[in-house]
């Protein structure tokens, strides 16, 4: 039942490939001298037919949004429209070399400029770079812009404030940007503690990184005051756009006072996750910071055509070319489809779905903070751990048997046995109800026959895997071995 690897399927001399017939003469390899490869790399040797069967069977061993609900909190697994696939496959977009002179790629530049404008309007910012290939890359880019701004002002503060509820990428990006991360605590409301913020704020602070709504799914209602305090010490405010999908058309980071905003295009604008990428993390900034953006940016030139332009104080490039262009094209298509009202409706129903589900589950899986949530909420399974030894991960594994993906577990870190649930706007009320019933059933099992949960999942292609063993003695590649000797 297990699927062999392509290497195990290999037979010496078997081929899938064809190569264009060439009238070009064979060139001598002599000039390569000692660099000529002696042994070909032991790549697979399979037929196209077996290759197709292999990867089709692998695909059948994978859950995906196209199969069903995926309430993975913070990850925002919503439906990825199929027309965006067709946009990304257009030969006049997908077949373009990135180093083609501007006048021969006006369509691309126009599309990117339109996307930049839309992101600025949605976030309330003045300009944006589309280069960062993921949200985390956007964070780093934003922090480097922050640094460039401070240095241009003759300062170089070294600390960045991050709430204890933040995504792990925030502190990691801070470190990579050469800053020191300072944690600000959440209060009993699940929001940034203003008292603790005042405690850590001084002129050694370069900036703050906030997610709003935060990772508990709660809107930081004091955000204006927080940013006033931050700006007061000369620091900048960075908006982590991971949860932007909750408020599109309703509120804008720029209007809240943020200086730098990244957007995860897959979370808000439904570009597909691809099993973990490619993403795209454009970074938008206020006009005061535009001069520091990575270049080049598409801007109208003297002739009226769009040209690549690099800002005078640019921090430099953060991607080899123009970012994940085809991902950007998908987000552009998503925005054009929705229009202003559709985008707002998207956010509203994302919140409505989460709010409804939060309330629906309250009797069995109460939210960690008793506040009306935005687009996601965090429940805690700690009651079951003490009662019956059932952990959040057990409930997650149990859900897999019901044909759903699991929620996010053990995040945010400030909630014990966290179960972070985000239904997204593309799931119907009927799906939400089915999901709620699955959770109810799991809670009942946790109370009555908890041992059963430890066995879950049983109906999946494999069952629980030995992750400790995998890490202790990592097998990261298939050893060249007997499989390669078949003939």
């Amino acid at each position: 039942d297990a699927e062999p690897t392509a290497f195990e399927l290999s037979v010496r001399g078997r081929r899938a490939d064809t190569l264009r017939h060439s009238a070009i003469p064979e060139a001598s390899l002599e000039e390569l001298g000692p660099w000529l490869r002696r042994e070909p790399a032991a790549l697979p040797e399979v037929s196209e037919r077996d290759l197709v069967a292999h990867y089709t069977r692998l695909a059948s061993r994978n859950y995906s949004v196209d199969l069903g609900a995926y309430p993975l909190g913070s990850c925002t697994m919503k439906y990825n429209p199929k027309f965006a696939d067709e946009v990304a496959a257009l030969p006049g977009l997908a077949g373009v070399h990135p180093d083609t002179p501007e006048r021969a790629v006006q369509g691309w530049l126009e599309l990117l400029a339109e996307l930049e404008a839309a992101i600025c309007e949605i976030t309330g910012m003045a300009a944006a770079t589309l280069q960062p290939p993921a949200g985390a890359a956007g964070e780093l880019t934003g922090l480097l812009i922050m640094g460039a701004y401070h240095r241009a002002s003759g300062r170089d503060p070294r600390r960045i404030i991050i709430p204890d509820s933040a995504h792990g990428t925030n502190p990691a990006s801070v470190t990579l940007a050469g800053y020191e991360a300072v944690t600000v605590r959440s209060d009993a409301r699940g929001l940034v503690s203003l008292d603790d913020l005042r405690r850590v704020l001084d002129d050694s602070v370069a900036g703050i990184m906030l997610t709003n709504p935060n990772t508990l799914g709660l809107f930081e209602r004091d955000v204006a005051e927080i940013l006033r305090l931050v700006h007061e010490v000369g620091a900048l405010a960075y908006y982590d756009g991971a949860n932007l999908n909750a408020i599109v058309g309703v509120a804008r980071p720029g209007d809240m006072g943020f200086d730098i905003v990244h957007s995860n295009l897959h979370k808000t604008f439904a570009t597909p996750h691809g099993g973990g990428g490619p993403g795209a993390g454009p970074v938008a900034v206020t006009s005061a910071l535009e001069a520091f953006l990575p270049g080049p940016l598409p801007r109208p030139g003297a002739t009226g055509q769009l040209e690549w332009w690099t800002p005078p104080s640019s921090i430099g490039n953060v991607h080899a070319f123009h970012g994940n262009a085809l991902v950007l094209a998908r987000a552009w298509a998503f925005m054009r489809y929705h229009g202003p009202d559709g985008l707002r409706r998207m956010s509203e129903v994302a919140v409505l779905n989460a709010r409804w589900l939060q309330q629906r589950l309250q009797p069995v899986l109460p939210a960690a903070f008793d506040e009306p949530c935005m687009h996601e909420f965090v429940a805690s399974a700690k009651e079951f751990r003490s009662e019956a030894g059932v952990r959040a991960s057990d409930i997650a594994k149990g859900l897999l048997e019901f044909g759903f993906h699991a929620p996010t577990v053990y995040f945010p870190l400030i909630v014990d046995e966290a179960l972070m649930i985000e239904p997204t706007e593309t799931e119907s009320p009927e799906t939400l109800e089915a999901l709620a019933q699955a959770f109810e059933r799991l809670v009942e099992i946790a109370r009555t026959t908890p041992a059963e949960l430890a066995e879950a999942p049983r109906t999946t292609p494999v069952r629980r895997l030995d992750e400790v063993g995998a890490a202790r003695k990592p097998v990261l590649v298939e050893p060249v071995g007997a499989a390669d000797e078949l003939d």
């Binding site: 290999s10 697979p44 439904a270 921090i315 030995d466």
Partner: protein, 440 residues
């Protein structure tokens, strides 16, 4: 108004009532009124699906695409290779495209095993012990390799060959600034090889191309020796296609091999999404950035795959993580993995050979036309010195349907030309005739 909200208005009303609200606006009660937008976004109005497609197509017609509008002799980190139909079809299965990061391995074996196979193929191609599940692109891979070297050696000084792609060096400068990296550039000799004799002093890494961005195959034996002398890691920025024909960097003792993986069946895509390849030695495994997939067994003893060594990662280590990389380019890694399996052991060699033949035929014809070719030995990319300013020549050739190489910022009369297996003899002959007219 378009949206993918499935709710009918009646259902929205009912759900609102069930959560005790009278309107959707009330969902946002926790947002102070002063922070609400209070007007519709100023964006173009909603379009029907077919109208979006037509708008996109209208824009796409204003781009010159490889093959249909332009014959591409440009590389520079993005290559016009043939994309096999089966590879595209398999990589783009919705079970891969619409999956998330394999956080729940029980329902993610497809993605995980595909990545494990990708890791294996990449490691074997470069002659290294292991590879990760990809990074954002070639530039990011260089940056992460340097981060690893800094972490491993606790030294901030990096020696970087000028033969590294300028945009990769740019990204290194941009992204390394925060950590205070000291980048030392080492120039090229007249034969386009890195002037390793000019390198001295301690460093965390020596970063060198193989072949370099001008196509020249570098002397990795010498690079290893120099790196050893500096107590530095040897970071090789390789070309995965060339490495099918060249002795792999691992055989010369490279510590880290990174590369842009676009050549492995990924369309030109205006520069992205591509994927960064990252391979290294076993000893360095716990410093590897990005995701790693490992083999293990389930409770019934069946083989299975998981993401592993996750304690390196930012969601666990937070500010102590050595990298902030969270996503990778999984879909592209699967795609490249399928491609390497489709080409296969002999097929990759023949592909590289075909590129080699085309590039050498082009170079020989240019030389026969009286132009200077620099950078031998090379595989599929080389420099031609036009001895006149190259930019206007390239612009004029564009008019006639040729994408005539990439420019070299420091050398205005040079063009870096590439020929892949997709270029025919007729195309090369016509191109040489046309370019010869420009410089005559």
């Amino acid at each position: 108004m378009g949206s993918f909200v499935p709710h009918t208005e009646a259902q929205i009303e009912r759900m609102l009532a069930e959560v005790g609200l009278a309107s959707l606006e009330e969902l946002y009660a926790s947002i102070p009124a002063s922070l609400r937008l209070g007007r519709p976004l100023e964006l173009p109005p909603a379009l029907a699906e077919v109208e979006v497609l037509e708008e996109a197509e209208r824009r796409s017609r204003r781009n010159a695409g490889a093959r249909r509008d332009l014959v591409v002799f440009a590389g520079g980190g993005a290559y016009d290779h043939d994309v096999p139909s089966a590879v595209r079809a398999l990589a783009l299965q919705s079970a891969f495209v619409t999956a998330y990061t394999p956080y729940q391995p029980e329902v993610s074996q497809g993605v995980l095993q595909a990545l494990f196979e990708f890791q294996t193929s990449i490691a074997r191609l470069f002659g290294m012990d292991l590879a990760n599940a990809s990074l954002y692109d070639g530039a990011a891979a260089v940056v992460e390799a340097v981060n690893l070297a800094v972490g491993a050696t606790k030294r901030n000084r990096i020696v970087v060959s000028q033969g590294i792609h300028p945009r990769y060096r740019g990204a290194l400068a941009t992204l390394g600034r925060g950590r205070g990296l000291e980048l030392v550039s080492v120039g090229l000799r007249d034969d386009l090889a890195t002037d390793l004799a000019a390198v001295d002093a301690e460093a965390s890494a020596l970063v060198i191309g193989y072949p370099n961005a001008l196509g020249r195959v570098e002397d990795l034996r010498e690079a290893r020796r120099v790196a050893d002398a500096m107590e530095a890691l040897l970071v090789v920025v390789a070309d995965p296609v060339a490495c099918a024909l060249l002795e792999p960097p691992g055989s010369f003792g490279a510590d880290v091999v990174v590369a842009e993986g676009q050549s492995l069946g990924i369309p030109l895509s205006f520069g992205g999404p591509y994927l960064g390849l990252f391979a290294t030695r076993s000893e360095l495994v716990r410093l590897v950035p990005g995701r790693l997939v490992g083999q293990t067994v389930d409770v019934e003893g069946r083989r299975g795959f998981v993401t592993t060594l996750r304690t390196r990662e930012q969601d666990i280590r937070r500010e102590r993580a050595t990298s902030n990389v969270c996503t990778n380019q999984t879909l592209l890694a699967i795609w490249a993995g399928v491609y390497l399996a489709w080409r296969g052991k002999q097929g990759m060699v023949e592909l590289a050979r075909s590129c080699y033949n085309a590039a050498h035929y082009l170079a020989d014809r240019l030389e026969a036309a009286g132009l200077s070719v620099l950078g031998r030995p090379f595989v599929r990319e080389f420099v031609v010195d036009l001895e006149v300013e190259a930019r206007p020549v390239r612009e004029r050739l564009l008019e006639d349907g040729w994408l005539a190489g990439v420019l070299v910022p420091e050398e205005p009369t040079w063009l870096v030309l590439t020929a892949t297996e997709a270029r025919t003899r007729e195309e090369i002959d016509a191109f040489v005739d046309r370019i010869a007219k420009e410089v005559r």
